[in-house]
Amino acid sequence: MRLQLQSDMASRTAFLLFFVNLFVSWVSATPLTGGRVLAVIEEQYDSTKYSQFLMDLKGRGYDVKLEPAKKDTLSLFEHGEKVWDHVILFPPKFKGYGPALTPQKLLEFTKLGGNVLILTSPSSIPEQVRELARELDIGLPPKDYITVDHFNYDTVSKSEKHDVILANRPAVSPAVHNYFSGKQDDLIAFRGAGHTLGNGPLLVPLLTAPRTAYTYDSKEDFAYAQDPWAAGTQMQLVSAMQARNNARITLVGSVDMFSNEFFDMKVQKPGSTKPQKTANKEFCRDVAAWTFGEKGIVKVNSIKHYLSNEPNAPVNPNMYRIKNDVTFEIELSEYDIDRWVPFKVPSGDSLQLEFTMLDPYYRVPLLPSSTSSNATTFTTSFKIPDQHGVFAFRVNYKRPYITYIDEKYSVTVRHFAHDEYTRSWDISGAWVWIAGIAVTIIGWIGFCALWLWSAPAAAKVGVKKTQ
């Protein structure tokens, strides 16, 4: 774990940082999803601008390497494997990134499980990022469109421009684990441009613009916003796409959010009485931590299913019979910065088990049955439907902010074997027929005896049968 700094930057700060970094990397282990971070940043000047954020990353065990955007030898892959675990893209000074960072390569990188944090600024959104955003169904404003809000701006800094927006963290929702809704009176300073999101299920907003914010063309529409690009809560300031393989791409509309300046800034909303320190440091750490998989990673430790009523039934058999009673268990853990903790389903949500063949036959909630120090076991029981076929136990738990759980476990459900039906004597309606058979047998035996041994009576018995 080395801090890559050029020699001319061997200033005191760098020295200090180096030692701090050395110390921190000693105590903290490598993060769960790997610690190799590539930070694409244009000039060393910029890296000092964001040193607090970068140091914080190093402090959490990441090995951050800074590289300029146009470097020729830069590559995300080697021999088909990714050589970085995470990429942070700072806005480039000049036109775009180098050939190593085309949208195709970035998507290939996420396909291999790498996470990407993209920081943009309104004056510099390279074509690569635009193209990538189009693929993600994120709408980016044209160059030099900026977001302003006449209700929630910082009055301390340059109050005339209203471009430092003070956003609140997202509201706490009972139905989701929102890792970004911390203290509700936190103010997050934002200077940049918002973007819009499509309706794709993989997109999640991390920070939404206030209702009165809007984005307009700062070059043309200075008199009045006759054609604003986007406005209100439909506009996002920070959002993310969690791909199906759980790789995360986060897009931030303001690189300044992550700067030392904003971390230390004191801000004040119009109408409020005293200035307040921004929560940018905490929020940006949350964003990075979530993007790089320190939070919101849920894993399935084990899945068990077995017959409910039989104590010695084998676990996870391949075959059940219709109308069996089965119990299904799933053990889930959640990663929290540096350790696995029991996963809790939010109170307004439900972890559901489906029992499906083409369509779900059951969709029942899995309820926590036991909790250990680092995992929760969720259980449910039900009776297998009276339909044979190849069924699947499916836990399809996809929620914003946490990794997708889509566990599918196929079992065969067979019909009753020939000797598993109710025996006829247990069915009262069959008694008549059973008696009929018994009567026939007894009558036949009696007839045989008569036929064999009956002497002729006064009336000739049986003769009529032979003739």
Binding site: S121, S123, S124, K143, V148, H150, E160, K161, H162, A175, N199, G200, P201, R211, T212, Y214, Y216, S218, F222, A223, Y224, A225, A231, G232, T233, Q234, D349, Q352, Y361, Y362, R363, V364, P365, K383, P385, D386, K398, S428, G429, W431, V432, A435, V439, G443, I445, G446, A449, W451, L452, W453, S454, A455, P456, A457, A459, K460, V461, G462, V463, T466
Partner: protein, 300 residues
């Protein structure tokens, strides 16, 4: 792309300065007056509703498919007419809080602002909502506080066919988005009803009648028709092995059937039959030959 932030900055500064000098050092809030909402139907009929920052339109306006909602007002910065940088009409679906905006066109000198709203301006999601709330947001750079006021509500009225079309469009817009990320409705399988037996009392009645049939048969055979077993000694004397063997093999055949019914499997049954069957066949032919001999003697 060559123009950097700094060049934009200078432009900015210029604009801000110019703008603030125009507005002056006004400290009052942005507001409006002479506001009215007109629902203009195609035939020329128009209903006018007045409203003000403190008095929204009472009741919801109904917006038919061909109607146009025309909102006009005069924007004031405190008491002077002015043109704010932001003058939007916000249209919100109250339940989901999904909101879209329509910028007003504001005349610079008179502060006269207006916006038209009709069905074709509204996205399908909003158009299919039962009611929408309208707000007006006015704000600009400088010191004057911005304002946001609710000015009323709108109920889009749709005919069923276009409603169905719009619902389809809405589903297409949303895609699978809404179906993920939420707990779905619970499903519990409903089993087919088990076949029912008739009431036991009826079963028992029939059972008794079947058994009575057997009794009746024996009654007919023995007391009435005079069946008897008095030839048994004679038969045993004539064929001492085959008679008992035949009868026993018949009984054991029935026994094998019974065992198959209760516990044996097919192969065991077949083996049993293979043993007993030939015995029954051979002893039976002997025994029956003896019976025929008796008949031929006229003893039957």
């Amino acid at each position: 792309m060559r123009s950097t932030m700094s060049s934009g900055m200078s432009f900015w500064t210029f604009f801000v300065l110019a703008f603030s000098s125009f507005v002056g050092a006004a400290s009052g809030a942005w507001t409006f007056e002479d506001a009215q909402a007109v629902v203009a139907a195609k035939g020329g009929k128009a209903d006018t509703y007045k409203f003000s920052p403190t008095q929204p339109v009472k009741g919801a306006l109904t917006l038919g498919p061909k109607d146009i909602l025309k909102i006009s007002l005069t924007v004031k910065e405190d008491s002077k007419v002015g043109r704010p940088h932001q003058a939007f009409l916000l249209v919100q679906e109250p339940e989901s809080k999904v909101e879209t905006f329509f910028p007003l066109s504001v005349k610079e000198l008179s502060g006269k602002a207006k916006v038209d709203l009709s069905h074709k301006d509204l996205p399908a999601f909003l158009l299919t909502a039962p009611s929408l709330s309208l707000s007006l947001v006015l704000g600009s750079f400088g010191e004057s506080p911005a304002s946001i006021v609710t000015i009323g509500g709108v109920e889009p009225s749709l005919d069923p066919t276009s409603k169905a079309l719009l619902e389809k469009q809405k589903q297409k817009d949303i895609g699978e988005g809404t179906t993920v990320y939420k707990a779905k409705d619970e499903i519990r399988y409903v089993f087919r009803a088990d076949p029912q037996s008739p009431p036991k009392i009826i079963t028992l009645a029939f059972l008794l009648s079947v058994l009575a049939g057997l009794g009746g048969l024996f009654v007919v055979w023995f007391p009435i028709l005079g069946g008897n077993l008095s030839h048994l000694p004679k038969a045993l004397k004539a064929a001492p092995i085959s008679h008992p063997l035949f009868f026993a093999s018949l009984l054991s055949l029935e026994g094998i059937f019974f065992m198959y019914y209760t516990q044996w499997n097919l192969f065991r049954t077949l083996a049993g039959m293979a043993v007993v069957g030939p015995v029954a066949l051979f002893s039976g032919s002997r025994a029956l030959r003896e019976v025929r001999a008796r008949r031929e003697k006229g003893e039957r």
